[in-house]
């Protein structure tokens, strides 16, 4: 075979290669979408579990007409909430934060957060649980450049103080339950973000770790008790804004 013959383009082969490459490419997209779909399904099932658990606890409250303090195991519920946050963050990063389905899931998650918060408020009051709550409002990076950093500090504090519960909400999420929560604390639409409410005390703008710990010292034992730590998840709900 001469060199010219060897160099001659076999267009059939080039087209066959194009076909195989296209096939591999399509399969790559197919598998990525398949995994994404599975994750969405697992998120659905996680949300469903939490909904059932919250409903079950609410029903117990109603049947007994009082909070069943001796059987109350709120750490499981909290863990479930954090697991959902972790999955939701991952889904958001994958499908995009503007994806309508993701936004729908986020709304549902926010409602579950509010229900969880209400339930623990009641448990705190009736069973004397030494819990402290932070309601944290964040927004996207464009509107709130400091929110990423604030979220990280809150995650750290949640890990450090086992009796601290952090609920994070997208300030711009179109959800009536969230609007109701905002109205309780007289939050205006033009508030400076990030915004935190620590036991009814509102804090606008970025707050350093030291400042937050200073404030928290009024409400909780600031020496963390690692032995009794129940916060095992590496992800906090506010990760959803990261």
């Amino acid at each position: 075979m001469t060199n010219q013959q060897a160099k001659k383009i076999d267009w059939q082969k080039y087209l066959l290669v194009l076909f195989f490459t296209g096939l591999i490419f399509t399969l790559g997209f197919f598998f990525a979408n398949l995994i994404s779909k599975k994750n969405l399904e697992s998120l659905d099932s996680l949300q469903q579990n939490l909904r059932v658990d919250i409903l079950s606890l609410e029903t117990q409250f109603s049947i007994l007409n009082q909070t069943p303090c001796e059987n109350l195991n709120e750490s499981t519920l909290t863990q479930e909430l954090y697991d959902i946050a972790q999955t939701l963050t991952s889904v958001g990063n994958n499908v995009g934060k503007d994806n309508p389905y993701y936004l729908q899931l986020k709304k549902y998650y926010s409602i579950l957060e509010i229900k969880h918060w209400l339930l623990l408020q009641r448990a705190k009051k009736e069973c004397g649980l030494p819990l402290t709550f932070i309601i944290y409002f964040y927004a996207d990076k464009k509107t709130c450049p400091d929110c990423d950093n604030q979220g990280y500090i809150l995650t750290h504090l949640r890990r450090k103080y086992p009796d601290l519960r952090v609920y994070s909400f997208d300030f711009n999420l179109d959800l009536s339950a969230l609007d109701a929560l905002k109205s309780i604390y007289l939050i205006q639409p033009n508030e400076t973000l990030p915004l935190m409410i620590i036991n009814k005390e509102a804090l606008s703008g970025f707050q350093s770790k030291d400042k937050l710990e200073n404030i928290l010292s009024k409400y909780i034992e600031t020496t963390p008790d690692d032995e009794t730590s129940t916060s095992t998840s590496s992800t906090s709900p506010n990760d959803i804004d990261l």
Binding site: M1, T2, N3, Q4, Q5, A6, K7, K8, I9, K13, Y14, L16, V17, L18, F20, T21, I24, F25, G28, F29, F31, A32, N33, I35, S36, N39, Q86, T87, T89, S90, V91, N93, N94, V95, G96, D98, N99, N149, Y152, I153, H156, R159, K160, S208, K209, D210, P224, D226, S229, S231, T232, S233, S234
Partner: protein
């Protein structure tokens, strides 16, 4: 949501995959032609030129390996050219000549660069087949015999060999070892496509008549072995690849040395391609034009994707440092409550497809290892190759591009 950078990455991955599939299909359809099956063995006179510049410490190794060749000594001529060395190269060469006067000839000339030494050697050579051997190499004993067989095809003008790194010890040599193994597989496939675009310096044989037609080696931006291949391709001369003819070369031991070498090669590629633009003519040079165009386009893609990956990596490191500062380096909660949590696996198509590219690259390595009959343990070397090579490669291309555009001459020797 797909970002602009993701679209660019998809295009890059698509082209990389296309080329990989193209190489694989070509390898499969030519499987039976991987090794040359010769029924008759001929022993034409072979003249091997060894150009030397300050190679006193390596000369014994290369000459000894040439004397050990499994080839009739009567049909072998070794020509050592001393290119104005300042060390004892010439004295050593003379001593070898004295010991084997029938085989070894020695010539000395003022320093003029490797191409001038080779040209003098080829002028003095009497062989029907002539070749060049780098002085820092050792030739496997059957290499010449196997390469000579390829000249039974009257069309074949040039035969190149498989290069391996001699006794790789440090990480850099290991990376080069893997690089050469992968390159062996690619060169073989390029050979099937009539698209070999470099005649390797460590060991290449020419049909003397073809070399005469081609003319002497040129300085060619200090990549004379690349230029002569381009010249041969522009004249449609056949360059064959002897996969089982092995030559061992000393790897660059330091990053400085390796960068200098690769910068010279890449700069040479860009400038020689500029000098031979006709090779990119798809109508005239078909597969070769496609391979060269892919190589050139691939440079842009690999540099851009590597730069983006590095940007992401630095961003991540910066974010982690920033986070540590935010919590006043108080890692106690994490240490007290440490448990390994599997990251949530939710890959984007880019991750799946780039992982596939890595798998394909590993496949090429395994094929290269198998085809070059390599028995070396490659695991650690392959790991370091996968971790660092893309970054090094991108860096060398950027430096070479800069040097080629701004016409900075490289200091060599």
């Amino acid at each position: 949501m797909v970002t602009t950078i993701e679209i660019f990455i998809y295009i890059g991955i698509f082209f990389a995959l296309y080329f990989s599939v193209f190489i694989l299909i070509t390898a499969i359809e030519n499987k039976k032609r991987t090794y040359l099956k010769s029924t008759k063995q001929s022993f034409p006179l072979v003249s091997l030129v060894v150009p030397c510049f300050n190679e006193a410490h390596n000369l014994d190794m290369v000459v000894q390996s040439l004397l050990n060749l499994n080839y009739p000594k009567k049909q072998l001529e070794i020509i050592i050219i001393n290119d104005g060395s300042k060390d004892a190269t010439f004295e050593k060469a003379k001593a070898w000549q004295k010991k084997y006067p029938a085989i070894i000839k020695t010539f000395s000339k003022p320093n003029g660069g490797k191409h001038t030494a080779l040209n003098l050697g080829f002028e003095k050579a009497k062989g029907e087949i002539v070749g060049c051997v780098d002085a820092d190499c050792t030739v496997e004993k059957n290499a010449i015999l196997r390469m000579v067989n390829h000249f039974q095809d009257k069309e074949t003008a040039i035969v190149v060999s498989t290069i391996k790194i001699l006794n790789p010890k440090n990480i850099l040599e290991g990376i080069q070892y893997v690089e050469y193994i992968i390159s062996a597989f690619f060169k073989k496939v390029f050979g099937f496509l009539g698209s070999i675009s470099v005649t390797s310096g460590p060991l290449t044989l020419f049909r003397a008549s073809a070399l005469k037609e081609l003319g002497p080696y040129k300085k060619a931006h200090q990549t004379e072995d690349l230029e002569i291949a381009f010249r041969a391709q522009s004249k449609d001369m056949k360059i064959d690849y002897a996969l089982d003819a092995i030559v061992y070369t000393l790897g660059e031991k330091t990053m400085k040395g390796l960068t200098k070498q690769r910068l010279r090669w890449r700069r040479g590629f860009l400038l020689n391609l500029r000098d031979y633009p006709g090779l990119l003519n798809l109508k005239k040079h078909g597969n070769l034009a496609f391979c060269l165009a892919y190589n050139t386009f691939g440079i842009l893609i690999s540099v851009s994707i590597t730069a983006y990956s590095l940007f992401r990596l630095f961003n991540f490191v910066f974010m982690k440092i920033n986070q540590a500062v935010l919590i006043n380096f108080d890692f106690n909660p994490y240490l007290a409550d440490f448990r390994f949590v599997l990251p949530h696996f939710n890959p984007k198509p880019t991750l799946i497809l780039s992982s596939l590219c890595l798998v394909v690259m590993l496949g090429f390595l395994l094929l290269g290892k198998k085809l070059t009959l390599d028995t070396t343990r490659l695991k650690e070397k392959a790991l370091f190759y996968l971790l660092f090579y893309a970054f090094f490669n991108a860096m060398w291309w950027v430096m070479a591009g800069w040097s080629a555009i701004f016409k900075r001459e490289l200091v060599w020797n």
